[in-house]
């Protein structure tokens, strides 16, 4: 299958405006550069971004790139290392799985180049980990996936149920399948029992169950803290949402902003109140969950029951496993 090739890169003027606007009222800000593949923008684009950031005093910038890794070379790796970038790579498992959904516009799979990119990033110590898209092609092989990553010295892993968009051929999965997949990953994580193996989906839940406070974004209940800025200056909600008018917050250039941001914040708050009112045992973990899973539009606040039930099953499984061990927490001083 062939795909159309396109690359729309943010202009330098826009880049400067975006960085200045989003660092104007904060002490620290994180930019997550996405694409397509963000490296298509070229190394000069990111050099410019860093140059702009360095001129802004009293703000701490952190840059994260999520890439398919195919364009990574020594020059990129040196730049990332020099400027303290954090690099995540999208890798869906062994070649037979990865190439199924991730291929070039000419139809050839990208696995070999992605692995080459990871090796370079590892050598320069700028490789943070992989995000593995979970789709129908690999969901039946959780243990094989995990061991493939570990065999390739990839120990920081996040699994993500892929969206049924773009070039993914067949993505639609049931939440039940996905959480069963994660439960099998959890069991294997326990079985492997290596403290250097870091699986974000699991450890964030384990951490919270044990009284920690480290939350990945889906369990923060603060979805309105994240926005997506497109190359034309359009600002939307987190890119997990579809790019639709109801999630349009405004535009950098026109300086015209809708009230959708406030509406989203209000809906998230109401959703939290709804969870508390229902006395959900798991609210302290999920904080209402990822907004994209729950809001078909900005007026719906009721949880989607099938998502909640499967997520709760996942939380309960992990808690029951932990509870079987005699883990004693130290008293926290009050």
């Amino acid at each position: 299958m062939q795909r159309k090739r396109s690359c729309i890169t943010m202009s330098e003027d826009m880049l400067e405006k975006v960085i200045k606007i989003f660092s104007a009222k904060v002490k620290d800000v994180e930019f997550i550069w996405h694409g397509g593949d963000p490296l298509m923008a070229g190394i000069d684009f990111f050099k410019k971004a860093v140059e702009i950031q360095k001129k802004i005093k009293n703000v701490s910038f952190h840059n994260v790139i999520q890439t398919n890794g195919t364009l990574v070379n020594k020059d990129w790796a040196e730049f990332f290392s020099l400027n303290n970038f954090t690099i995540g790579v999208s890798l869906d498992g062994p070649k037979k799985f990865h190439d199924y959904n991730r291929y070039y516009y000419n139809g050839l799979g990208s696995f070999d180049k992605t692995m080459e990119g990871i090796n370079i990033l590892q050598k320069y110590n700028v490789f943070a980990g992989i995000i593995c898209g979970v789709s129908e092609i690999n969901i039946s092989y959780p243990k094989d996936l995990l061991h493939f990553f570990l065999d390739n010295n990839i120990t920081s892993i996040k699994f993500m149920l892929i969206k049924n968009i773009g070039h993914y051929k067949k993505a639609a999965l049931l939440y039940e399948q996905y959480y069963d997949f994660l439960i099998q990953i959890f069991d294997e994580w326990i079985s492997i029992d290596d403290v250097l193996v870091n699986i974000q989906n699991i450890q964030t839940v384990v951490n919270l169950l044990l009284g920690g406070i480290e939350r990945e974004c889906v369990y923060m209940g603060k979805c309105s803290n994240f926005v997506t800025v497109y190359s034309n200056g359009d600002i939307y909600a987190c890119d997990s949402f579809p790019k639709k008018q109801k999630y349009f917050f405004g535009n950098i250039i026109t300086n015209c902003f809708s009230n959708n941001s406030s509406r989203l914040k209000g809906v998230i708050q109401k959703r939290k109140e709804c969870c508390k009112k229902n006395k959900c045992d798991w609210f302290y973990i999920c904080q209402g969950g990822c907004s994209k899973d729950f809001y078909g539009n900005l007026s719906v606040i009721k949880p989607k029951k099938h998502i909640c039930l499967n997520q709760q099953k996942y939380f309960a499984y992990i808690k029951n496993t932990i509870d079987k061990f005699d883990l004693k927490r130290k008293e926290v001083g009050l």
Binding site: N125, S156, D194, V197, N198, C217, F325
Partner: protein, 49 residues
């Protein structure tokens, strides 16, 4: 599995980490805004070799 079974090292490490965070949150009183308040890989910097 029972309580006499050896506790997995990954759970012991997770417990230790959770304890550190819980103490830190009380000491610094910054639950609402802290270093964990990040997306994606912010807390996953590679360990120095």
């Amino acid at each position: 599995m029972n309580q006499n079974q050896d506790i997995p090292q990954v759970l012991l490490a997770a417990l230790e980490e959770a304890d550190i965070q819980a103490h830190a949150s009380l000491e610094e009183a910054q639950y609402e805004k802290g270093p964990w308040d990040k997306g994606h890989w912010a807390n996953r910097k590679p360990k120095p070799k």
